[in-house]
Amino acid sequence: MDPVQDNPIGVPLTGAPLGADASDLGSLLKRASRGDNEAFAGIYDATAARVHGLVLRVVRDPAQSEEVTQEVFLEVWRQSSRYDAERGSALAWLMTIAHRKAVDRVRSAEAASRRDETYEQRNHTPDHDTTAEAAQASMEARRVRAALAHLTEVQREAIELAYFGGYTHTEVAALLDLPVGTAKTRIRDGLIRLRDTIGVGR
């Protein structure tokens, strides 16, 4: 384990972690759970670009990504009463749903193509370039990049393969030539460091 350095980059790492209207989102969700579709439209307008950006990055295929994004927001509508502000921000709740759906989609697509025997190696080639380049020059993206700079290379790679590649930790271990069972520890250590650097969740 290498020590956590002081923030070497002149970018603020703390502050409103997930957008200024985080608490607003919570109250919109509350209204949506009572069937308020205008509140839902507000949630959509505030978060669709973030959600779709994540889904597109994981799923890659634009048409399928649109389907998944649609599924995500339908699920957000249905589950809106289940959001619990004590457990985290509304945006993180949404992104958790989006990530799970996106990962389910790539895994089931993979299983289907494996069945059809059209499964190809391409699915196992991580697209490091798009992963690195796609981040826009927004403040948020700079904060994230700064935070990622605090991770070890293997922690960062393991998290990116899991989060954006949708790989299981076992697959991540194989991709990174790590002993089985160690990728999950890298992912956890990296996420803990990311959390503590950015100052979210605690």
Binding site: A49, T69, Y83, M95, H99, A162, K184
Partner: protein
């Protein structure tokens, strides 16, 4: 929370929190960890905080086509938001608490009854824990919203719930309300039926006959309202049948829920 963090991969179940937070566990591990989460407040807090951190990673913004927004706003009109969860202990994940109950009818509604002795013993071997409990009705009924039939069963004062836990980590619960006359099955992380097969539901009549009911949708987490009359049913069974379902069971039930009353 990181003070006692294990430093090696090990078999420590707590160490799965990070991979769980980014959906990177293998299916069996996920089931195991979710069971652990129900008992471990530290891991619940850690997962919440790590999801918060992971969410920050998805900073790319790509605006979806405007048509998607229009479609969604039209679609939600046909979907009623779920009621709040009953206050029954912690919930592991915000995702997929109760998937909608996709309607997967048999080719045609079959009224034929089959006389099949109950093969409960075979099922019992598979079942690690069985318990019955009276469900609490929702603490706060939502005025002005229409409950679906499944939700009325789940919310009924006389709802009885029987939970079964499978060795592979899956859970499947049957909730029956005599007053509503219907039964609902809720599955959690249920492995899909083998290729070419489907899970079929059966209602046992007071005469001991198994009446064919719905097929389970091809989803790990599902909520399915059974078609049949559950006001006097004495049991609910699940069997593995060829795709499309059967008129009568072709195999022993993988689970049987006895509804003695």
């Amino acid at each position: 929370m990181t003070d006692n963090k294990p430093t090696s991969g090990g078999d420590d179940v707590h160490a799965l929190s990070g991979a769980y937070a980014v959906d990177a566990l293998e299916p069996d591990e996920r089931a195991r960890f979710e069971a652990h989460l129900r008992q471990c407040a530290d891991c619940r807090d850690e997962v919440d905080s790590l999801r918060e951190a992971a969410a920050v990673l998805g900073a790319d913004e790509v605006t979806p086509p405007a048509a998607l927004r229009d479609r969604l706003l039209a679609d939600i009109m046909a979907v009623r938001p779920l009621p709040p969860l009953p206050t029954e202990g912690p919930v592991a994940a915000p995702v997929e608490e109760a998937a909608p109950a996709p309607v997967v009818p048999l080719d045609s509604r079959r009224r034929g009854l089959s006389r099949v002795p109950l093969l409960v013993a075979a099922a019992a071997v598979l079942i690690a824990g069985v318990g019955g409990a009276i469900l609490k009705p929702w603490a706060d009924d939502q005025p002005g919203t229409q409950l679906t039939a499944a939700e009325r069963v789940l919310a009924a004062e006389d709802a009885i719930r029987i939970d079964k836990h499978f060795p592979d980590g899956a859970d499947a619960a049957v909730v029956v309300s005599r007053s509503e006359g219907r039964a609902v099955i809720l599955t959690d992380d249920m492995a899909p039926a083998p290729e070419g097969k489907a899970y079929q539901l059966w209602l046992q009549t007071p005469a001991g006959e198994l009446e064919p009911d719905r097929l389970m949708p091809d989803l790990r987490d599902a909520t399915v309202l059974l078609d049949g009359d559950a006001s006097r049913a004495t049991g609910v069974g699940i069997t593995v049948e060829p795709d499309g379902g059967s008129e009568q069971p072709t195999s022993d039930p993988i689970a049987f829920y006895s509804l003695d009353s």
